[in-house]
Symmetry: C2
Subunit: 369 residues, 2 copies
């Protein structure tokens, strides 16, 4: 990452508009990053993503280190070249998937031992290896390896996770290659004091950006938003703030109001493949019988290829027939919806109108959903 600047703060909320510059271009914030789990945002080509003006995508360290292997990706010129992605790339640390996908994981001070969900092979993910893998992938923004206990967990366990996360963050900084950008991740569960301690300890390490991790891991949606809100205020004003792995359009509207800058979530792409589509008037489950002869576009307010070209009737048919094109057209639409929402939010922030924009948008989305 070359630089990050906050360009404007909304006059009435904590929302802010900024600009993040990397070797692969400029990312305007707040930004939603589509998830490219296995070196592809599912069903999309890089050309599709550029067509949507996606500026940054996320790649998953865990998946790519296991298949095809980070050495393979490195030999092929890094993930940018391998996947033909010309713009900014952020990779996670691999930690989250180790905890959620792998078998028999065991956390020790050295790292996390786990078995691959693909073939059962045994691996040890350490802070140093996470840095090395992300460097091999050639990521523009790497994430430090953190310890993310599921909720509810005993306060003591969360406290230990915070402490270990700090020690691992330090090891990540030390292991980072020259020029490798690493963001720190704060933990602390729903405990305000632990979040504060985590933030302070990481800020002492002076990362160029900070993420809030360990949200939506078992707590209520309301608790998750509260954690995000008070954690956002713990982070430095002049650095990008990334809320990991969340959320719905409604969540994003809330999270932007808290002054958070970066977001990622599988929701738009996964929901698309399952036939749940986001529109300006709420969610549509395209498989429903009511759309059998519906000649209207998915979202009459949307300008994406799917909405410009096809009817709900056709999209329902594709989905019910299990056609690949359903996944494609639905993903294109949902990503366009998310990107457009972020873009309009940013305009509202720049116009000191974010609060009204948020209320108006939430109201409209509630009409159908």
């Amino acid at each position: 990452m070359k630089s990050f600047r906050v360009l404007h703060r909304d006059a009435h909320t904590r929302a802010r508009a900024g600009e993040l510059i990397t070797a692969h271009g400029t990312v305007q914030t707040p930004v939603f990053m589509p998830v490219g789990t296995q070196g592809t945002v599912k069903a999309m080509t890089p050309a599709d993503l550029v067509g949507l003006d996606v500026r940054i995508i996320l790649g998953n360290t865990y998946h790519l280190m296991l298949r095809p292997g980070h050495e393979v990706v490195q030999d092929m010129g890094g993930l940018h070249r391998f996947a033909a992605w010309p713009r900014t790339l952020l990779t996670d640390s691999g930690g989250y998937q180790v905890f959620s996908l792998s078998h028999l994981n065991r956390v020790e001070e050295e790292g996390v031992e786990f078995r691959s969900h693909l073939d059962g092979s045994r691996h040890l993910l350490t802070p140093e290896l996470s840095m090395q893998v992300q460097a091999a992938l050639g990521s523009d923004i790497c994430m430090a390896l953190d310890v993310c206990p599921p909720l509810p967990s005993a306060r003591e366990e969360i406290e230990q996770a915070v402490d270990r996360t700090t020690r691992w963050a330090q090891r990540c900084r030390q292991a980072a290659a020259p020029g490798q950008t690493v963001f720190g991740i704060i933990q602390g569960g729903v405990h305000r004091d632990l979040r504060q301690r985590s933030a302070e300890e990481l800020m002492a390490l002076d990362f160029p950006g900070y993420a809030i991790g360990g949200v939506q891991v078992g707590e209520s949606p309301q608790e998750a938003l509260e954690v995000a809100s008070f954690s956002a205020d713990l982070l430095p004003e002049e650095r990008p703030r990334y809320l990991m792995g969340m959320g719905t359009p409604e969540d994003l509207l809330d999270l932007m109001e808290m002054g958070l800058d970066m977001f990622d979530c599988v929701l738009p792409t996964r929901n698309a493949r399952r036939g749940t589509l986001f529109t300006s008037r709420g969610r549509i489950s395209i498989k429903r019988a009511q759309y059998l002869r519906d000649p209207a576009p998915l979202d009459p307010d949307c300008s994406c290829y799917t909405c410009r070209t096809f009817s709900r009737s056709y999209l329902r048919h594709l989905y019910r027939a299990g056609e690949i094109l359903a996944a494609r057209l639905n993903t294109l639409h949902n990503l366009h919806f998310y990107l457009d929402l972020m873009s309009r939010a940013r305009q509202a922030i720049l116009a000191d109108d974010y609060g009204a924009f948020r209320r108006r948008t939430l109201q409209q989305m509630a009409e159908v959903s």
Copy 2:
């Protein structure tokens, strides 16, 4: 169909180049028609197909009458509008799938009774209904309902199929709506005299185009090509000749030499989804370990998006990871390969060089396969 003209005959073979004009544009022949089974060429958007300069696709009457139902497609403005396909559309009669996919089909003089492969519901497909369904779909070129016995069958059964095919062809002509273009289909198995009788009886009905049906239904590949060859000579010079449901690139090179004009086959699209890719140097099975670190494009001679953008290494990764993008990129490439082959064949015909072109191309394709 508005017109068909043979523009040029190769000086040394039976191959010919022509032009077929419909309400939805001009189709240069010989032509390969991608198969759009359920109202979509699998994994492709209409924009992709237009990008490949596909001028005509095939839709399946059987699939669309069962799901979403031809009345639904008609209510949505016909298949062109429903699927946003702006160019020429040919539909089959539904007969082939009734025989191959449905359960408990029974052929009687009135039509074929069958049970849907989707829900077991009972249907009767008659020549009149096939015409009505294809009219509802709004097809530019409709196919007559024929009787296609599997091979081997007793000569007597094939003879009865020929006779019934003629009677059904007559009923199709009578049932056709004003302006509805219907092609006749000749049957007769591997029997030269029965093929001749079928061709003569159908030509007496004066169809604007003729298809050779009942090939690759159990006979050897060599027999199929022999049937195609002598059947082609039975058909009128001035009408388009369509060989149904076949074949490989090698087959197409043979079939074009026989003076056949139109072809369809699921091979390029189905093989693509299964990881078998056609290249100028033969077939590639992309899942093979040898491509793990292969930085080369699939086919260095190919100019498609897939070959311009991605390595074999990446394509192998996508295929092994089960990514939707694998199906997309592979389909795009295989269709491009087929379209390009046809386009170069046509140029060779126009240059009176088809024989040499065929030999050269076959030789090159044999290098790897």
